[in-house]
Structure formats: C-alpha cells, structure tokens
Symmetry: C2
C-alpha cells in the first residue's frame, strides 16, 4: 500500500468520500487528493427515478455530477468521479443510514441475486474526457436472522460503508454463494479501465 506515486502530471483529484476508492488508487501507486463533491445524492436519485432513469443512468449521472462540480472548482486538475448503484427487480438500495437500516438491507438481499453497477468518469476543466460503467452480479446466501445479527455485531459501523451492507474484502465474502464481476468494480472503482485512461492522458507512466 506504500508504492511510490507514479503520477507524472497533472494534479489528480478523487471527487468521492469513499475510503475504498482512495485505498484502491493508493494501492496501485496513484497519488491523489480527496475532495468529496458533497452533492445531495439521495435527492438526485429520487428525481432521476421519477423520470424513469434506469440504474445505469443513475450511476453515470451521479458520477458525472460529482466530478463536474469539483472540476469547475479546480481548473487544470483531472477529476475522477464515481458512483455505485445496487438494485434487484425494481428496487434500488441506498447506503444504510444506521445499523438497523443495514439489517433491513441484509434481510432484503438474503437469498437473492442483486446487481452492483459502478460508473466512473474523468473530467478536466468542467468537460468530460471519459466515462465507463461496469456491472457485477452478486448472489447472496439465505441468511438467518441470527447470522445477520452476528455479522453486524462483528463488523459494526463498517456495515454502513457500502450500499449492500457488506465488506466483500473482509467478512462480507461469507455472505455470498457466488460473485461474478470485477473485484475492483465491486469495491467501487473499475480500476483497469481507469488506469488505461490515465495512461492515455499521460498522467501515469506506461
């Protein structure tokens, strides 16, 4: 996790408060500044859903809104935006707001498949340079109430850090019978396509 930064130029900003996204970039030696966009995501999501936007449009729009807002405020910096959307059937789940909410999330996801969409983009001076959306199919085991209680008691407030109330890189892997998709995308950032784009722009060494 302590690789020498291989950023060449220019300044790179991650317009996201996600610790997981920042950890992914740091692990591959990409130094970056974290400047969360602090937009009212829940409100934007409601509006998008009211206008019949599909989950991919929601993820893409939110990622772009975050990156664009920060990009306008920081000229000549490349700004990475990203957003994840979790859905099954007609329902989308937002990040749990507390432990009780996380418990309800796990009860909803238990014994069924859900989809995790991740969208990422790069902005420069308010203009979009690149956008990419990836998808993972997640199959959660049928979990008993007592198992969910045990799980939440183990990971505690970390249960509120992800949309689905799981930490797939830790104990959360225990919740799943099958996972199909890119691990980095599940953690919040489609890393390999993003690295390719940063190389294309000469931001990191090739």
């Amino acid at each position: 996790m302590n690789a020498t930064p291989i950023i060449k130029s220019p300044h790179l900003i991650l317009a996201s408060a996600s610790k997981s996204r920042s950890r992914i970039l740091s692990a591959v030696g990409i130094s970056h500044e974290i400047i969360p966009a602090n937009i009212d995501e829940a409100r934007v999501k409601v509006k998008l859903i009211e206008t019949d936007s599909d989950p991919a449009t929601v993820a893409k729009t939110l990622a772009e809104m975050k990156a664009q807002k920060i990009s306008y405020l920081h000229s000549n910096s490349l700004v990475i935006g990203a957003d994840q959307v979790l859905y099954y059937d007609d329902e989308m789940l937002n990040k749990p707001i507390n432990i009780q909410d996380a418990k309800e999330h796990l009860n909803k996801l238990s014994g069924r498949n859900h989809t995790l969409l991740v969208s990422t983009c790069i902005f420069l001076n308010g203009n979009i340079l690149w956008q990419f959306t990836d998808k993972a199919n997640m199959e959660m085991r049928l979990l008993s109430e007592s198992y969910i209680d045990w799980y939440i008691n183990e990971i505690k407030e970390q249960v509120c850090e992800t949309l689905g109330a799981y930490r797939i890189e830790g104990l959360g892997a225990q919740l799943f019978s099958s996972i199909e998709g890119d691990f980095f995308s599940i953690l919040g950032l489609p890393l390999l396509p993003l690295l390719k784009e940063l190389r294309n722009h000469g931001v990191i060494s090739a």
Copy 2:
C-alpha cells in the same frame, strides 16, 4: 482482518506456506493453523510434465499431495491443500527464485495472455473429501524494460512471492490490461466454493 473466528469444529489446517492464502482465510474469520507440507514441488512438477500431465492435473496433484501429507500427520483435522499453476502456450512458470528470475518472468509475460489455475482440496485422515479447480485469464500489458525495472525496484522481494512476479492486490494491478476470473482464486484460494464446503461439513456457521 480481525474478525472473531467462526470456526465451530474441528481443527482446521492450511497445508501451505502462502501468506496470501492465510490472509484470505483470516480476513473472512476462519481461524486456522499453518503447517506447510514442504514437498519438493519443482521435482514433482517435472515428473508430472514428463508424463504429459496437463496444467490442471499438475495443480490438482500438487494441492492433493500437500493436503494428504499433512492430513496423515494430523488425524481428525480438516486439512486444506492448494496449488497454483501459471501457463501460456506450452510453458509453465514456477515462482521466481530471485529478482533476476522475476525480471525474466515479467519479460516473458509482457504483452501476452496467460492462464492462472488454482486447485484446492480438503482432506480428513488421509482421505480426500472435496476438490475444486478454478481458472483466470490474465492479459499483461506490453511493458518496457525500464518499467519492469521500476516495478521490481518498487515491490522488491515481494516480486518473488507469486508465480507471475506480480502482486495483483497492490502495484501489480498496474501490469494488466484485463483480468477475467475470481479475485480470490488469483490470490491463491477459490474462497467462495471453499467456504461453501466448510459450511457443508459444519466447520463454519451457516
């Protein structure tokens, strides 16, 4: 990484010296004892290849040999064995023995696809209970000599910890243009199928 162990019974042994495999088990709360089998893997591999064994047979045989050896020595313990094989065309690569060897590995893998096979099994009292083999397709970017030198200088002796001389969970992700396969399998252990089997045997809570 500090989840409470959820092992119920019996004693679980990992017959592998791989730090990565032990880390994966610990991260999902599986307490285990590490007892490497210390068999002469290179010699066994040569013999298997001489008898025209395919890569999957090599991985499966080595995983089983390790688990069986430890299983005979530790009765009534479940013993996990595992082995990885890296190959492309007709060539298999063993773990680099030193920095120079790692450099040759990366030169061979640069700009081409290779396959990572991982085989795992569970033994009890010398008998096999379960076996599973998984496969990942890895596409490495075309790397310059100077990039390989820079990379090896960054991760140093860690470059000798994996078959392909990369640490995919860290800076090694920078080497790839595409990865298709389960992340845990690439790290050395097909985790979800293994957890399912441990649950089926009542070893961990369901």
